[in-house]
Each structure stands twice: as structure tokens, then as C-alpha cells.
């Protein structure tokens, strides 16, 4: 049931539901079909259509769509290669590039007028509701299921790349092994310290999907809430002021949300790149040891 804004508690994030709404009510089978899944499918279609357009009839002198996509791919590849290195970039780029594009398109999709505001609620007339408490569209990045799905997918790929590059024993030594090459008593002390650091590192690694997903979800959901709240500030001031207020007041924040959407896509992608780089870089003393052999 939709409630007017003034009846909400002061907590602003309640202006938008924290979870995605199911599109088919009362069906366990279709419980997966939420408004964020709908938008995710739209994003999938957009990505597919644009990819096909950009890469069909490719020429050495690129056409407009090809040029844009080439710029994007070249820019991303350069940044990722700069972080993870040339060898890992070839393996990790498809995932990291997908993460960036999917997150960016999803974030900006949420800024299209109607997304988050068109939907079902308490009817106030034909094709109008007091509040769309079950919106038709919700950006996937404002659904914790989607952000968790992306973070866990990245985690799986990170684990695969790490084990492929370092091996299981290499990963264990990389995480828990003492650095510095000290021997004797000091070596044991340093070993114990690095063992403890390794345990903390494991906890940090396990928490990464959670931090990644909650950071992205929190930022985008907060942005949705801000826009929604600001758009409804003058809802009780008559139709004209309500209309003007819903357009003008959130207007500056759209630019901020455009920036936040881009920034969060960059942050998510760069953090994943850094995680891959950290775990696939060989330790110096390890390499030295190999050289000695």
C-alpha cells in the first residue's frame, strides 16, 4: 500500500523500499522476477543491441558506434592492464570490462524518468497512484541480490585467476608466508606475525564480496532515495508546485547521480582489479629464491 510522503518516518531512505519488488505476486516459481530483474534484462538487451551495432561491419576506419565502443574498451583495457599487468589483463579484462559496463548502464538506467516512479500503488484515478510503492523498474545495482551476484562472480574469477597463477601452495605461502627472509628467533617471531596477518587477510578476502556489494548497493539505493525524496518535497503544495518541484528540486542531483553512477562503476572495477593484482603478484623474495635455484 502506498503511503504519502508526510506519513513516513523521518528516515529518508524509507522513501524507497530497500528491496526489489516481485512482479508476479503469489507465485513461488516467478519469485525471481523482480523489478530489478526486469531492468537487468533491459540492460542485457541494450548491451546486446549496442554490442551488435558496434561490432557489425567493423572497419579499420571505425563508424560512430564502433568508435565509441573502441574508445571504451581501449580506455578500460589500458587502466586494467596498468593495474593487473599485461598477462592477467588478457584473462581478467572480460570480467572487469563487463562489470564496469553493466554497473554503469544499470546505474544510469535508474536515472531515466519513470524508473522507480512508475508502478503499482494506491489508486487515485485512472493510470495514477498516490505512491508507486511497487515500481515497475528498479536498477539492478539498487538490489542487493544483483550487487552480491556481481561481487561473488568477481570473487570466483579472482579465486580462479589466483590459483591459476600462484597455485594452492603459492597462495597459502603468499598469504601466510613470512616476508623479509629473517632466520632464527627473529624469523620465528616474524613468521608468527605474518601468520596472524594472513588470518586477517583471509577474513578480509572473505568479506570482500560483502563490502563490494554493500558499497555499490548503498550508494545507488541512497541516490534513488535522495532523488525520490526531493522529487516529492512539494507533493502537498498543489498540482502546479508539485510538478515544478518534482522537476526542479531533484534536477541538480541528477548530475551528482550521473557522477556517482560512473564513480561506483569505476570503484567496483578498480577494486576487483586491485584484488587480482594483489594476489597474483609474486613476492620478491620468492622470485629471488627461484633465481637462486
Amino acid at each position: 500500500m502506498a503511503l504519502p510522503l508526510h506519513s513516513f518516518s523521518p528516515a529518508p531512505f524509507l522513501a524507497v523500499s530497500a528491496k526489489a519488488s516481485e512482479m508476479v505476486h503469489g507465485s513461488d516459481f516467478f519469485s525471481f522476477l523482480t523489478n530489478s530483474v526486469v531492468v537487468a534484462l533491459c540492460v542485457l538487451g541494450l548491451v546486446f543491441a549496442f554490442s551488435r551495432k558496434a561490432t557489425s561491419g567493423m572497419t579499420l576506419i571505425p563508424h560512430k558506434a564502433q568508435n565509441l565502443f573502441e574508445f571504451l574498451v581501449e580506455f578500460l583495457y589500458g587502466r586494467i592492464e596498468g593495474i593487473v599487468g599485461a598477462k592477467q589483463a588478457k584473462l581478467a579484462f572480460p570480467l572487469l570490462g563487463t562489470l564496469f559496463i553493466y554497473i554503469l548502464v544499470s546505474n544510469w538506467f535508474g536515472l531515466i524518468p519513470g524508473v522507480g516512479t512508475m508502478g503499482f500503488g494506491e489508486s487515485t484515478g485512472p493510470f495514477s497512484v498516490a505512491e508507486a510503492d511497487k515500481p515497475l523498474f528498479r536498477p539492478p545495482t539498487a538490489d542487493l541480490n544483483a550487487t552480491l551476484a556481481m561481487a561473488l562472480s568477481a570473487f570466483v574469477v579472482w579465486f580462479y585467476l589466483t590459483i591459476k597463477e600462484m597455485g594452492v601452495w603459492g597462495f597459502i605461502m603468499h598469504t601466510f608466508g613470512p616476508k623479509g627472509g629473517l632466520k632464527g628467533f627473529m624469523g620465528m617471531v616474524v613468521g608468527a606475525v605474518f601468520l596472524f596477518v594472513g588470518v586477517i587477510e583471509i577474513v578480509s578476502i572473505v568479506l570482500r564480496p560483502m563490502t563490494l556489494s554493500i558499497r555499490l548497493y548503498g550508494n545507488i539505493f541512497a541516490g534513488e532515495s535522495v532523488l525520490h525524496t526531493l522529487g516529492g518535497l512539494l507533493d502537498k503544495s498543489g498540482p502546479f508546485l508539485s510538478f515544478i518541484g518534482s522537476v526542479l528540486i531533484p534536477f541538480p542531483f541528477y548530475f551528482m547521480e550521473l557522477l556517482v553512477g560512473l564513480l561506483q562503476a569505476i570503484v567496483f572495477t578498480l577494486l576487483c582489479s586491485v584484488y587480482i593484482q594483489l594476489s597474483t603478484t609474486h613476492d620478491e623474495h620468492h622470485e629471488d629464491g627461484e633465481h637462486h635455484h
Binding site: 530497500a18 528491496k19 526489489a20 519469485s31 525471481f32 522476477l33 523482480t34 530489478s36 530483474v37 537487468a40 534484462l41 540492460v43 542485457l44 548491451v47 546486446f48 554490442s51 551488435r52 558496434a54 561490432t55 567493423m58 579499420l60 571505425p62 564502433q66 565502443f69 573502441e70 574498451v73 581501449e74 583495457y77 579484462f93 572480460p94 570480467l95 570490462g97 563487463t98 559496463i101 553493466y102 539492478p140 538490489d143 542487493l144 541480490n145 544483483a146 552480491l148 551476484a149 556481481m150 561473488l152 562472480s153 596472524f196 588470518v199 577474513v203 548497493y217
Partner: protein
């Protein structure tokens, strides 16, 4: 692992209080929704990898290769051009040297030929002069002989007329000889 105890102490109340379920409920976490999102993300990954990243990266590599080839060709062309210029300069210098040598040789040859021709002309002129002199001498001698004969005949004739005597051939011969001897004096 006792050093991890503080961490457990902090996490335990959250788990124990059943707040995980509350969080799951509040944020709508569900396996079906989660897997739906995973599948969609995998689909986006496959689409981008197959239809975008693969062809675009291949095209970028092709273009990079083409540019590298172009640069290599440019370097080769510049090198060839420098070599060609060097060759042209070398050929030009050689041609200049050859031309100078040939001009000098031609000059020398012309000078030598001129001298030869001059010598030949002088020689020929001398020959002509000598022949002319010989011819003149011969003619002079013939004229002198003729003159002597004529003079002898005239003397004989005059003597014959003066003396009224018919001179025989012996007399005529003797008078001719006398006259000729007088003329040559």
C-alpha cells in the same frame, strides 16, 4: 586462534540475535533472485565477450599492427630514401668526375689533333711549296733550254743572213752551242 576471539565476540551477537534473517528479509535477499541476477550477469558477460570485447580487441590489435607496420615501412622508406639520395649523390659525383675527365681528355685530344693537323698542314704546305719550286725550276729550265734553242736558231739564222752562207748542221750546232754558252753566262 585465541587472538581471533575479539572478532568472534563482535560478530556473535549479530548472528545470535537473528539479525541476519532480519537483514535478509529487509533487503529481499533470496536464492532465486540471486541466481537470476547471476544468470543475467553471466549472459551479459558472454554477450560482451563474444560480440564486443573479442572483435573490438582484435580490431584494436589489427590497427595497432597496421600502425606498427606503417611505422616500420615509413622507417624503411626513409632509410631507402637516404640511401637513394646517397647513391644519387655518389652517381652525380661520379658523373661529374667522368664529365670533367672526358672534357679534359677531349680538350687534350683536340689540342693534340690540332697540333697534328697543323703539322700535317705545314708539311703539306712545304711539300706544295717544294713541288711548286721544282715545277718552277723545271719550267725555268725548260724555258731556258727553249730560249737557248731559239736564241741559237736566231743567232744561226742571223749569221746565215749576215754572211749569206748556208750553214750546215755542224755550223749550226757549233753556233748554237756558242750562243747558249754566252746566254748562260
Amino acid at each position: 586462534m585465541e587472538f581471533l576471539f575479539p572478532m568472534y565476540v563482535k560478530m556473535t551477537p549479530v548472528i545470535a540475535a537473528g539479525q541476519v534473517d532480519e537483514v535478509v528479509e529487509k533487503f529481499g535477499l533470496a536464492w532465486s533472485k540471486f541466481f537470476a541476477q547471476v544468470l543475467i550477469f553471466i549472459a551479459v558477460y558472454v554477450i560482451l565477450k563474444k560480440f564486443a570485447f573479442g572483435p573490438i580487441l582484435a580490431m584494436l590489435e589489427q590497427r595497432r599492427q597496421r600502425i606498427a607496420d606503417g611505422e616500420a615501412k615509413l622507417e624503411k622508406i626513409a632509410k631507402d630514401l637516404a640511401e637513394a639520395e646517397l647513391n644519387a649523390k655518389r652517381l652525380l659525383d661520379k658523373a661529374n668526375d667522368d664529365a670533367a675527365r672526358m672534357i679534359k681528355e677531349a680538350g687534350d685530344s683536340a689540342k693534340s689533333l690540332a697540333e697534328k693537323r697543323q703539322q700535317e698542314a705545314i708539311h703539306e704546305a712545304n711539300q706544295i711549296i717544294a713541288k711548286a719550286r721544282e715545277a718552277a725550276q723545271l719550267e725555268h729550265e725548260q724555258l731556258m733550254a727553249q730560249l737557248k734553242r731559239e736564241f741559237g736558231r736566231m743567232v744561226a739564222d742571223a749569221t746565215s743572213r749576215v754572211t749569206g752562207k748556208v750553214l750546215n748542221s755542224e755550223d749550226q750546232g757549233r753556233i748554237n752551242q756558242e750562243a747558249a754558252a754566252q746566254v748562260s753566262l
